[in-house]
C-alpha cells in the first residue's frame, strides 16, 4: 500500500481516468428502470445478459423531433420524425421497458454516489442504429478513399512568424471566432484574417460549410483555411461528420486546420483536415507563435549581433597590437640596441666563465697541495729514522769505544793493527794505543 487516498481524491482520479479514456462511446443495450421526472431528464439503465450501466439523458440533449438526418444533413421528405425521448416519456416504463437501443455519449463519474454513468447525447432504436451505422459506414468509406492518409497531410504554412493570410470558416457570431481572435491578438505578426461566414449547425450547415470551403480554396488568397466551431452536443457538431464537409476539406487546395468542439470531440472533418486543433483557441495557438516569443528571439539575435561585433573589434585591436609589436622589433635602432645588449651579455658571460675556470684550477691546486704535504713529511721522517739507525750501528762499530773500558790495541810500525803474535820478532818496535794516547813498546822476547 503506497498511500492512503481521501475518498474525493480517489474519485477524482478515477473520474480523470474514466472520462479521459472513454471520451465518447457507442453502447447497445436494453432500457430498464426507466424514470421520467418532471424535470424532463430521463434516467434509466442499459442492460444486457450480464451487466447493467446507469444512464442519464438530459433534457438539453433530447430532440423533440428530427426533421433531418443529423449525420448527413439529409432532410426527411416525409416530415419530422418523433424522437425517441418523446416516445419514452409518453409510453413510460410500461412499453418502453426492455426496448433495445443504441446510445452515443460520454462516460461520467457522479461523485456523490461514487457511481459512473453514461451521459447520453443521441439515442436510437437498436433495430435501426441508423446514426451509428451511417457514421461508421461513412468513416470506412472515407478511409478507403484515403481521406485520412497521414501522407497527404500538409504542414501549416508561414514559418516562424506564422501565416499572413488566413481564411476562417465559422459563424461570425459564435464563441469560436471570438476565442480564436482573442488568442490570435497576442500572436504572430500583422496577418490578414478573412472570415467566411457560415452556419455551423442545423439543416443547411453542411452545404454552407462546404461552399465556404470551396470558395476559400478557389479564391487562392489564403495560405491556410481554418474551420472552427465552439463546443456543443454531439448533435450540434454533426455537420462536421457530414460527407459534404469531409469532401470539401479533402478537396481543398489550401491546408485546412480544423478546431471543432472541445478536446474530446473528434469529427470526420477533424480526421480529414491536414492539422487538427483541439479547440478554436488551440487553432490560433497552432497558427502563430506568441509575439512575446518572437520579441525574445529578436532580443537574442540582437545580443548575438552586438556580442559578435564587439568580439570582432577586439580581434582587430589585438591584431593591430601584435603587428605594432613586430614592427617595433624590426626597427634598425631596436636592432642595434638588441645587438649591443647581446654583446654585453656575451661579454659578461665570457668573463664569468673565465673567472669560474680560474677558480676551479686554483681550487684543484690547493687540493693537490693539501694532499701532498703530509706525504712529504712522512717520507722525510722515515728517511731520518734510517739515518738514525745507521748512526747507532756506526757508533757501535767505533774502534775507540772499547779503549774507554780499558782495552788497548797495538799498531805495527807500518801503521797496521797487530792481530796476533805470529811474525813478531824481538826488538821490534810497536805502538800501544790507549784511550788517552800512544806508548812506544819493544818486543823483548817470544814464547
Amino acid at each position: 500500500m503506497s498511500r492512503v487516498y481521501q475518498v474525493s481524491e480517489l474519485t477524482a482520479a478515477i473520474r480523470g481516468l474514466l472520462e479521459g479514456h472513454f471520451p465518447f462511446v457507442w453502447v447497445r443495450g436494453q432500457i430498464f428502470n426507466l424514470s421520467c421526472p418532471s424535470s424532463g431528464h430521463i434516467y434509466f439503465s442499459l442492460k444486457d445478459e450480464d451487466s447493467s450501466l446507469a444512464a442519464v439523458w438530459f433534457k438539453g440533449n433530447q430532440q423533440d423531433g428530427e426533421s433531418f438526418d443529423p449525420l448527413t444533413g439529409e432532410v426527411f421528405e416525409d416530415g419530422p420524425r418523433p424522437s425517441l425521448a418523446q416516445r419514452l416519456r409518453e409510453e413510460g416504463a410500461g412499453s418502453a421497458g426492455g426496448l433495445e437501443v443504441v446510445c452515443a455519449g460520454r462516460l461520467g463519474v457522479y461523485p456523490p454516489r461514487g457511481s459512473y454513468q453514461l451521459v447520453v447525447e443521441i439515442m436510437q432504436e437498436a433495430g435501426k442504429g441508423r446514426l451509428q451505422i451511417e457514421f461508421e459506414k461513412l468513416k470506412a468509406e472515407l478511409a478507403a478513399k484515403g481521406y485520412f492518409d497521414p501522407q497527404r497531410k500538409r504542414p501549416l504554412p508561414g514559418g516562424r512568424g506564422g501565416p499572413s493570410r488566413v481564411a476562417v470558416i465559422t459563424s461570425p457570431s459564435g464563441a469560436a471566432i471570438h476565442d480564436f481572435l482573442r488568442i490570435a491578438g497576442s500572436r504572430g505578426l500583422s496577418a490578414q484574417i478573412r472570415i467566411y461566414p457560415t452556419l455551423v449547425q442545423g439543416e443547411g450547415a453542411p452545404a454552407m460549410i462546404a461552399t465556404a470551403l470551396e470558395q476559400a480554396s478557389t479564391d487562392g488568397w489564403a495560405e491556410v483555411i481554418v474551420l472552427i466551431r465552439g463546443g456543443g452536443s454531439l448533435e450540434d457538431l454533426w455537420a462536421f461528420n457530414s460527407r459534404e464537409v469531409s469532401q470539401a476539406v479533402f478537396a481543398s487546395r489550401v491546408p485546412v486546420l480544423s478546431g471543432v468542439g472541445h478536446e474530446v470531440d473528434v469529427t470526420l472533418t477533424d480526421m480529414v483536415a491536414d492539422v487538427r486543433a483541439a479547440t478554436p483557441s488551440h487553432a490560433a495557438q497552432l497558427l502563430w507563435p506568441e509575439r512575446r516569443e518572437l520579441a525574445q528571439r529578436l532580443d537574442e539575435l540582437e545580443l548575438a549581433l552586438s556580442g559578435a561585433w564587439r568580439r570582432q573589434l577586439l580581434r582587430c585591436e589585438s591584431l593591430l597590437t601584435g603587428q605594432e609589436k613586430i614592427l617595433r622589433l624590426l626597427a634598425p635602432s631596436a636592432r642595434l640596441e638588441r645587438h649591443a645588449y647581446e654583446l654585453q651579455t656575451a661579454e659578461e658571460r665570457l668573463s664569468r666563465a673565465i673567472r669560474a675556470r680560474q677558480e676551479a684550477l686554483l681550487r684543484g691546486l690547493d687540493l693537490a697541495a693539501a694532499a701532498f704535504a703530509p706525504l712529504g713529511e712522512r717520507l722525510i721522517r722515515s728517511r731520518m729514522d734510517v739515518v738514525d739507525k745507521l748512526d747507532l750501528r756506526l757508533a757501535g762499530l767505533d774502534p775507540h769505544l772499547p779503549l774507554r773500558r780499558g782495552y788497548a790495541f797495538v799498531k805495527k810500525a807500518d801503521g797496521g793493527i797487530l792481530r796476533g803474535s805470529g811474525g813478531l820478532v824481538p826488538g821490534e818496535r810497536l805502538d800501544l794505543c790507549l784511550v788517552d794516547g800512544q806508548v812506544p813498546v819493544v818486543v823483548i822476547e817470544r814464547d
Partner: protein
C-alpha cells in the same frame, strides 16, 4: 563576389519576418567567424542593426486585420458582432 552582394542587399523591408531573422542570425555568425576585414564587418554590422530595428518596429506595430467575406465584397469585421 559582387553577385553575392546583390543577393544580400534587397531592401530590408521586402523580406518576411522569418527571412529577416534568418539573415540576422547569418550576419551574427559571419561576424563571429572573425574571417572578415574590419570594413566588411562594419558594413555587415550596419545591415544587422538596420534589420533588427525593422524587426522591432514590425513586432511593435503588429496588428491583425479582420475582414468579413461576402458575395458583395469584404467589409470590416467588428468584434461587436459577437455581442449580438
Amino acid at each position: 563576389m559582387p553577385k553575392k552582394k546583390e543577393v544580400e542587399t534587397p531592401t530590408v523591408e521586402n523580406r518576411t519576418f522569418e527571412e529577416q531573422l534568418a539573415r540576422l542570425q547569418e550576419i551574427a555568425g559571419q561576424l563571429e567567424s572573425g574571417d572578415l576585414s574590419l570594413e566588411d564587418s562594419l558594413t555587415l554590422y550596419g545591415e544587422g542593426a538596420r534589420l533588427s530595428r525593422a524587426c522591432r518596429v514590425r513586432l511593435e506595430q503588429a496588428r491583425h486585420t479582420v475582414q468579413l467575406y461576402s458575395e458583395e465584397g469584404l467589409t470590416e469585421f467588428k468584434p461587436l458582432d459577437l455581442e449580438e
